[in-house]
């Protein structure tokens, strides 16, 4: 379906936020890799931010036109061919980077993958999912992490966090797109849920990197004075934040204005508009009242229940559908006392007559014997 954007649709803010997330992930990964392996001055960062933003806006707005002439099978063939070629390129680049350990080569690879990132953003809609930009961004994160230090740590932590936000926004947007337009405002809730899930991971990684700063790849032959200074890195990240915010604002506004809905659903399934009722409180379930067995019946039942509790401690599990006799057949315990206890329990629990004192004593004695036997016997 290639329809116009639906007015009042709650999907549009989510789509715009998703575009911002994928842009932020792209920019963060590219900037980290550039910072790690080349002289990423303000001009280069600005160029990367602007180039990626333009590619993102163009891809979101006009990307659908690229594949409009392609049949499903042609598109699939194109995607498989492209994915194979790209995978080969990634393996070749990483092998060359790791094998040579030459910073200049890795820097050049970084530039290539940064340009590829822009290309992926431009053609994001060709694959109907944003796997291309995500995969390439993660390759850039890998390249950045080879350099070690603060940049690698920031690349990994920021990359994972932005990936998480992107996935959450993408999921919410795709679900909403598959249904008729509604007033559900999910942007804040989606961000909140993603943040709550990502927080422990981000905090854990930050602590890990703080305790043990990541070292660069051992094979890399870094000249003694070539590494970026901490001041340069912090200045670069400040610039990156400014460029990123500007680019994100541009993308958010542009996508909301230009985005066309491309949601689709099987023709066999109709997505229906809903009348949503107000929330009602569920009735409280009735409290579980355990039967209280008094007198001699109670003593026999308690002897049996304590044996079951002891059996559970040793790993024995019974199903609610099992009768006492079923349990007795499976319980790894001395069969004589167990049989006596089971029969006395059945009589006390379900029988019409009050058990005698002798039966109670016999049950308690059998219970002790079974419990002692369970202690020695492992579950079969």
């Amino acid at each position: 379906m290639n329809g116009a954007a639906r007015p009042g649709d709650a999907t549009l803010p989510l789509l715009a936020a998703r575009s911002v997330a994928v842009y932020a992930l792209s920019l963060h990964a590219a900037a980290s890799a550039l910072l790690a392996w080349s002289r990423a001055d303000a001009g280069m960062l600005a160029l990367a931010a602007a180039g990626l933003a333009i590619a993102q806006v163009a891809g979101e707005s006009f990307g659908g036109a690229v594949d409009s002439g392609l049949e499903g099978t042609s598109r699939l063939r194109l995607r498989i061919t492209f994915a194979t070629a790209y995978g080969g390129l990634v393996v070749l680049a990483l092998t060359a980077a790791v094998g040579s350990g030459e910073p200049r080569l890795i820097g050049q690879e970084t530039m290539v993958f940064t340009v590829l990132q822009a290309a992926f953003l431009l053609l994001a809609d060709l694959g109907r999912s944003q796997l291309g930009p995500v995969a390439n961004a993660l390759v850039l994160v890998v390249l950045a992490s080879l350099g070690g230090g603060v940049v690698a740590a920031a690349a990994v932590v920021g990359g994972l966090a932005l990936l998480g936000f992107f996935l959450a926004l993408d999921h919410a947007a795709r679900v909403l797109q598959a249904y008729p337009a509604g007033p559900a405002a999910l942007l804040a809730a989606t961000l909140r849920r993603a943040a709550a899930s990502l927080a422990p991971i981000v905090i854990g990684l930050t602590v890990l990197f703080f305790v043990s700063p990541p070292a660069p790849l051992a094979q890399v032959r870094l000249p003694a004075s070539s590494g970026p200074r901490d001041e340069d890195v912090s200045a670069a990240y400040r610039r990156l934040v400014v460029f990123g915010l500007a680019g994100s604002g541009l993308i958010f506004a542009a996508v909301r204005l230009l985005r066309r809905d491309r949601g689709a659903r099987s023709t066999l399934e109709e997505a229906l508009p809903l009348e949503r009722g107000t929330e009602e409180a569920l009735p409280e379930p009735p409290p579980l009242v355990r039967p209280d067995y008094q007198g001699r019946r109670g003593r026999i039942v308690r002897a049996y229940v304590s044996v079951l509790a002891r059996a559970r401690e040793t790993g024995f599990r019974s199903r609610p559908s099992q009768t006492p006799r079923d349990i007795a057949m499976q319980l790894p315990a001395p069969p004589g006392p167990l049989g006596t206890l089971t029969e006395l329990f059945v009589g006390a629990r379900y029988g019409p007559d009050e058990p005698s004192e002798e039966q109670v004593v016999a049950a308690e004695r059998a219970g002790h014997a079974v419990a002692a036997g369970l202690g020695r016997t492992k579950r079969v």
């Binding site: 990994v156 249904y179 990502l198 991971i201 929330e279 569920l282």
Partner: protein
């Protein structure tokens, strides 16, 4: 939602994080190993949240179990969140058999707080023709916040749903038997009978019930006098439906079964609507016997029985009428709905005569099966069919029996709505 796309991200992350982790361990690059660790932690969290999100959700459906063709039906889905956590983006798929689409998909975007229920109502049309369909099962699905793990649960809430044929008023039926009335209990005529309506007093005749003696009048006149009451004339309508398998012809909307069921439904609905006591009799694969009753609820019961009939019987219409005619009350109307015009005319004449002699007013509607696509036997030549139609018409006219012949090329709604449909002269 397209689950394949969700799986694409998840599979990519498995492959990529595995590769990054191996690379990090092999090259002793802590950042890469940490990237893999963090990524797998994200996947694990997502998996747990996906499983947990579904655990205590419950769904149930409420729908009135019948409707007419083309009606829009509201279906209410109750979504219960029995956990403490708030649920988001819960998808429910239902399968409403009478609709054209196989599945109906609904989204509860959330928030649905813990220990709360939300009712979702969707409306869908009964687009398929009359019959008994199923509604359900329900499928409940949720995902983790990242959409990586999709959980689905099938709820076997399958219920039958009856779609009744669309009914049109049969104009000619008003002229048969009693007049239309809002209250069938008031329908009487001022001639002696057994109703509760008091008409007057007359002289005692031999055979009169002693309990009916009007003692004050007897004392006044010096001769026995009895109270007279008006006769009950609650309209009584009996429909005999021909379900003989020998009269099957046509397919789908143009078949004798379709015409018989639709015509029966229209007749019953119209008769019930004016307050008649209605009973329906037929012999298909199983007996169709709906005892006399009145009101919309009874008519609905008749429709429910009608949509389940099959034209698989081996008892002819005239045999069926002969079997039941002794039980028809005087003054009632008996509608004979045949699947063919090739009835044995002598027997038809005899049956109509027997009914009329009992004070029952017969009406005959014939569906000309030879105008439908033949299924298991050849159609009768057109000339022969025309001659038979003339013979039947002549017989009905001679007996003064209202009747009509329906053919495949006629629009049923138009034909049944004609004021002169049930006139003997047609």
């Amino acid at each position: 939602m397209n689950r394949a796309r969700t799986a694409v991200y998840r599979r990519f992350l498995y492959a990529f994080l595995g590769f990054a982790g191996l690379l990090g361990l092999a090259l002793r690059v802590e950042a890469l190993a940490a990237l893999a660790l963090g990524g797998f932690a994200l996947l694990f969290l997502a998996w747990r949240q996906g499983r947990g999100g579904m655990a205590r959700l419950a769904v149930s459906r409420e729908v009135y179990p019948s409707a007419f063709e083309g009606d829009t039906v509201p279906v209410s889905i109750a979504l219960d969140n029995r956990s403490r956590r708030t649920s988001w983006l819960v998808e429910v798929r239902d399968s409403f058999g009478p609709a054209v689409a196989d599945r109906q998909a609904l989204l509860e975007p959330g928030p649905l707080r813990g220990a709360r229920r939300r009712r979702l109502v969707y409306r869908t049309a009964c687009s398929r023709p009359w019959g008994v369909y199923t509604v359900g099962p329900l499928v409940l699905s949720t995902s983790d916040p990242f959409g990586l793990f999709h959980e689905e649960r099938l709820v076997p809430a399958v219920e039958p749903f009856a779609v009744f044929p669309r009914v049109w008023p049969v104009a000619g039926i008003e002229k048969l038997g009693a007049r239309p009335s809002l209250s069938p209990q008031e329908l009487t005529v001022p001639r002696p009978g057994q109703s509760l309506a008091y008409m007057g007093v007359r002289d005692f005749r031999p055979g009169d019930d002693m309990r009916r003696i009007h003692w004050p009048a007897t004392a006044r006149r010096g001769a026995p006098a009895v109270k007279e009451h008006e006769v009950d004339l609650v309209p009584y309508f009996t429909l005999f439906v021909d379900l003989d398998r020998a009269h099957r012809a046509g397919t789908g909307l143009k078949s004798t079964l379709e015409y018989l069921v639709r015509t029966s439904a229209c007749l019953v609905w119209t008769a019930a609507g004016r307050g008649d006591l209605v009973q329906v009799l037929g012999e298909g694969a199983r007996s169709l016997e709906v005892p006399p009753g009145s009101g919309t609820l009874h008519a609905t019961q008749v429709l429910y029985e009608l949509i389940r009939v099959q034209q698989e019987g081996r008892v002819g219409l005239l045999d069926l009428v002969d079997h039941h005619r002794m039980h028809l009350p005087a003054g009632s109307t008996a509608m004979l709905l045949a699947g063919t015009i090739f009835l044995d005319l002598a027997r038809l004449d005899e049956t109509l005569g027997a009914l009329q002699s009992r004070g029952v007013r017969p009406v005959v509607v014939l569906v000309n099966k030879d105008t439908f696509l033949p299924i298991d036997r050849r159609a009768v030549p057109r000339e022969e069919a025309a001659a038979q139609a003339d013979a039947v018409t002549t017989l009905l006219r001679a007996r003064g029996v209202p009747g009509a012949i329906l053919a495949a090329d006629q629009d049923l709604e138009t034909e049944l709505g004609r004021a002169d449909l049930l006139e003997a002269s047609r």
